[in-house]
Amino acid sequence: MIINFRFIAESIPKLLGAIPITLLMAFASAVIGWLLGLGIALIRKNKVPVLSQIFAVYVSFLRGVPMIILLYISYYALPNIIYSYGVSIGREINVDAVPAVAYAIIALVLEQSAYASEIFRSSLAAVDEGQMEAAYSVGMTKTQALARIVLPQAMTIALPNLSGLFLGLVKGTSLAYYVGVYEITATANLLAMPALNFIEAYIMTTIIYELISFIFNKIFRAVENNLKKFRAVAA
């Protein structure tokens, strides 16, 4: 027998049970990372002195270092930083109680913020200058103009790239395996090890990732179509 179907039947529930942790990492990192990315993009767009230079280096570094190394750095450096901080405020923090997934999310957030900031920067630049001026001319403040006029258009332009970024992020969570997070890939490996059922385990893993990508792709496409109403104005 080439394929062990009993193994497949027994492991499917366990593999499916690992999907939430993968999605938790992806959603948490996307929400926090993209908000940070938007902030960085606005800082760099407005050429805030010092901060914009610091973030230029920040973005360049995070885009130049592979995810796996960011994960290792976060996993090995942060417990110490947290502990030292605890000591400095006179508290003994038990860093072993911090779950590995927290370090993985921090590494993913850093990476997402860098990539998202570049996407937002180019989409903000793509919104016509006249839009901002028109908003001023009808008496809006800078914040109002940004929130009501420029950002909705910029978001629409950014969306196709953000969807690509998110799909890459979902795939990137598979590396959290190396800092001890039992997400889909790690679970597949754990299940396959005892009887060396690698082919079955990884075919199932592949199917799960393909389905997740497929579903999110559809969702993003639907949102893009829905937001086209803003785009007509931006063009």
Binding site: G64, L167, Y209
Partner: protein, 234 residues
């Protein structure tokens, strides 16, 4: 806990890790070459009027974009030999580096195909028609008129894809290839992990430096190539 880091030691790890740099570059160049070849075939399929070829090419691109490279590595390195063994084919003679090159080439081929397709479509149709009208054959028209213009459009994306591919070579350690990250890991375990953070930071700096150089090179090549050329209308 309360471990003290030796930040000053970071630069001293860079040359030690760099000893594995030639292997990383070898993996990068080989997988780049094969990803371009596979990508070109897929792009031809995606652009052809043949419905089957189009569907196969689209399926290939979306499959390779959906699977994490790490899972592809495990699937091919751990899974495939089992399957082939059951079918009577022994794959134990294939080196780990070959598996990594194959996996990286396959996963990058989707991006390369998309890049080539977009670049080809960005060249105005009239260019090809004009070439035909002066008597060029389809292949000559492609080689002398369409390709040079498409290349100019593709250079920034190509540079980006190469940078992504370079970063992905870091996954070679997952099956025990001693590339720069593999070497960093063995250096760290040789000292029982006491200096692992310093070593990983040193390795990160190497990746950053190479990515920075690749980015600058891309800009330079783009500037040199598009200089004096009319931009292909998009």
């Amino acid at each position: 806990m309360g471990h003290k880091y030796d930040w000053a030691s970071i630069p001293s790890y860079i040359p030690k890790v760099m000893k594995a740099f030639p292997l990383t570059i070898e993996i990068l160049l080989l997988s780049l070459l094969f990803s371009l070849i596979i990508g070109a075939l897929v792009a031809v399929g995606a652009l052809s009027k043949n419905k089957v070829a189009g569907a196969v090419a689209k399926g290939w691109i979306s499959f390779m974009r959906g699977i994490p490279t790490l899972v592809l590595i495990f699937l091919l390195y751990l899974g495939l030999p089992q399957l082939m063994n059951a079918l009577g084919v022994n794959m134990s003679g294939i080196s780990k580096t070959t598996y990594i090159v194959a996996c990286l080439a396959l996963s990058t081929s989707a991006n390369m195909a998309e890049m080539m397709r977009a670049a080809y479509l960005s060249v105005n149709k009239g260019q090809r028609e004009a070439a035909y009208s002066v008597g060029m054959k389809p292949f000559t028209a492609f080689r002398r008129i369409v390709f040079p213009q498409a290349l100019g459009v593709a250079i920034p994306t190509l540079g980006n894809n190469i940078i992504m591919l370079f970063k992905e070579t870091s996954l070679a350690f997952t099956i025990g290839v001693i590339d720069i990250l593999g070497r960093a890991r063995s250096l760290s375990s040789a000292s029982y992990g006491t200096n692992r953070l310093e070593i990983y930071i040193a390795t990160g700096l190497i990746f950053w430096a190479v990515c920075f150089i690749l980015e600058k090179l891309t800009k330079l090549v783009e500037k040199m190539y598009t200089k004096g050329r009319k931009q292909a209308a998009s």
